[in-house]
């Protein structure tokens, strides 16, 4: 883990920064995950009542959720400028696609209400934008996991280097994953027809997601020797064996909770599934930020910049988490019909 034999601040500052970025990405994936998931599932809820419920269940949160993406992006720029400057040009088109997708779905929240009763196109924008954003995020993830061609400290591939069967598969996997937590969220936050429909969808999505998790677990060690080395060499294999065990336990919990009286449990176990999958991917990748060439220490910014940023984060992230919890509590429980400022 410490290839250059670094000591002191030069060693642990990048590690802390990476931890913060991991936190931001995890927060983003979970929070915006369910809200993108709702967009992905939107077309499968045909009635106007259900769609309004879906929208209202995330309307107070989506903005805060997407802010974690901005935090992730800026934290990467701040703490690992080299990685930022290599990764973003490498996945240029998927990033642009994701951003455009987010533009469409973001404005749909407001436009849809104002445009009523002529809001069909914003329903479409919401669904398509969410799906494209999720798929693009999967593409980016897949491209980074698979490794980026670098020479002389800059991206050296072509405009479509990111386009591989592996990254396409990751795109589909992420759509399914987001849809799953979206469905669990809907089951938790809505009532009547929407809730029943979401419970049915969630079980199918859970099965599909497990298929993708297994696929990734087989595909990555076969294609990337460093991943196989990390997971299957002794003693790692012993230390890491809880990962699949926890995955299985969470999947079973989620499956059993879905039809029951505790949709909240199903939601949290789906979130847990995501977090464990995320940890698994980090285990496969660390200490590289741009596999297989740039480690987090090589990409790190000046210690002074990291220290300044980290002290701000140490101060602010607890506050942010505090009022995030406050807002989620304010809007806790099922969506009340007719609620909203519109």
């Amino acid at each position: 883990m410490n290839p250059a034999g670094l000591v002191g601040a030069a060693y642990w500052l990048p590690l802390l920064s990476a931890g913060v970025i991991a936190l931001a990405v995890a927060m983003y994936v979970v929070l915006d995950g369910f809200d993108l998931g709702i967009g992905i599932l939107f077309p499968y809820f045909p009635s106007e009542t259900e769609r309004d419920q879906l929208m209202n269940s995330v309307a107070p949160f989506w903005d805060g959720n997407e802010t974690w993406l901005v935090l992730g992006g800026t934290a990467l720029l701040v703490s690992f400028p080299l990685a930022y400057a290599v990764i973003l040009p490498a996945v240029y088109l998927p990033v642009i696609l994701m951003l455009l997708g987010l533009v469409f779905r973001g404005v749909a929240f407001e436009f849809r209400w104002v445009a009523k009763p002529h809001h069909r196109r914003w329903d479409l924008a919401f669904a398509a934008g969410s799906t494209v954003a999720a798929f693009s995020q999967g593409l980016i993830l897949g491209a980074v996991l698979a490794g980026i061609p670098v020479s002389g400290g800059a991206f050296s591939g072509g405009a479509f280097s990111w386009l591989t069967p592996f990254s396409l598969m990751c795109g589909c996997a992420l759509i399914v994953g987001y849809a799953l937590i979206g469905a669990c969220w809907i089951a938790m936050k809505t009532s009547a027809a929407a809730e029943a429909r979401a419970r049915r969808q969630a079980r199918g999505l859970l099965g599909l997601l497990l298929f993708f998790i297994v696929l990734v677990s087989i595909w990555t060690p076969l294609e990337f020797a460093r991943v196989a080395q990390r997971w299957f060499s002794w003693p790692n294999i012993a230390y890491l064996s809880p990962v699949p065990a926890v995955t299985a336990a969470l999947a079973i919990t989620c499956w059993r909770a879905l039809p029951g009286r505790h949709p909240t449990l199903a939601f949290y176990s789906a979130v847990g599934l995501f977090v464990v999958a995320f940890i698994g991917l980090m285990i496969s990748t660390l200490p590289y930020l741009v596999p297989p060439v740039i480690t987090l220490w090589q990409a790190a910014a000046a210690p002074r910049s990291q220290a300044f940023m980290l002290s701000g984060m140490a101060l602010m992230i607890p506050v942010i988490l505090g009022y995030t919890v406050f807002v989620y509590r304010t809007f806790s429980g099922k969506v009340r019909p007719g609620e909203g400022y519109h």
């Binding site: 419920q53 935090l71 080299l82 990033v95 951003l99 533009v103 436009f111 104002v114 009022y323 519109h342």
Partner: protein, 463 residues
Amino acid sequence: MLLSRLQFAFTISFHIIFPAFSIGLSAFIATLLVMWRRTQAEHFHALARFWTRIFAIAFAMGVVSGIPLSYEFGTNWSRFALLAGNVIGPLVGYEVLTAFFLEATFLGVMLFGWQRVPPWLHVTAAVLVAVGTAISGFWILSANSWMHTPAGYEMRDGIAYPLNWLRVIFNPSFPYRFAHMMCAAYLTTSVVVLGVGARYLLQGQFAVEGRTMMRMGVGMIALLGPLQLLLGDQHGLNTLKYEPAKIAAIEAHWRNDGPAALVLFAWPDERAELNRAEIAVPRLGSLILDHEWSGRVPGLMDFPRADRPPVVPVFFAFRVMVGIGLALIALGLTGASLWWRRRLFDTRWYLRIAASAWPLGFIAILAGWLTTETGRQPFIIYGVMRTAQAVAPVSAATVAVSLALFVLVYCAVFSMGIYYIHKLIARGPAAATLAPPALPHGLPNRPLSLAEPPAGSAAERAP
């Protein structure tokens, strides 16, 4: 290179409008709600609800047009990110930490919390959103100012390293730029508020709300307009000290051979290095820029050709900005004098002018932005990095495709946004009634159409 530049200029021009509007509008709404709490007058609350809906749209467009920017530094300007990331990055990071989350989270309470939280908490949320937008302005203008007047850093191996954060944040041009921009944001919103108020009075509807808006708008403009003139003057002096080439371009001042004239109009010819069709007032330039009758101001020819900004856009954009600024001062002072004579609400020519003045602030902001950013060229960080060195290793075709996509999407999305804002304004504050209280038995959850069935549909079906 050119394409990346176009793309950035395009996305940021869209972006700057909406946050400037949100900064002003959030403060306006917070003020309305505070007044409502203090006076219990119902029309303040009605106005707050009305503007909150417009704010929601403006804010959403600000957010979605802002997210691409934080990534474009990497996708299109990765070499800039590499060189300046150590310094600029944390400033943007602090913006996210201290402002974005605050705004985004409490916006949820502000928009949807009418019935979920007690009124005092709701007012607090609105105030927090307003504070958040101002904090956001603080950090982003600090980062932007650093690109104009870098300070508190050292260069090692072609990368900037911070030495003193206080000097980085409070770099020489920051206090002036911040004050000037915030004042512009509040001024712009005041003009819109005044315009909407005047429009309602002209149409003879929403009289109470319209009068309140006009009073608040006129008061703010009469106050902020002259203040902005003062701030602009100070900002100009600061620019003269740190970026003399920009001032020379703004004034189309070629030769430093005596007291500077103030060029009122001209067509600057960059090849021949002189002004055509010039109308100028002798010595006035020196007086304004140096506050001295015979002050000397550096001319463009003091700088090598390669270090000069493009003169024509800077020259004209500046004149547009100042022209609008002066017009707004006139608007504010005229309004104040009419108000003093108790004729503000029935002077129809004034109402007509005020009702059509609403876009002026936005145009002035864009013109000012164009002046300062183009005036910094050919540098991306003044005196440190040229824009040409900053561009990312991405093929021109890729950038062209994404630029085309951005133009297409932004035009579609933002024209719709402006259309909807317009529609909301046309409907007026009466339509912004509270959503009906919770229905007992999960009836159709269509608050908007429940609250105002005739407004939307009738207006659209009308021939």
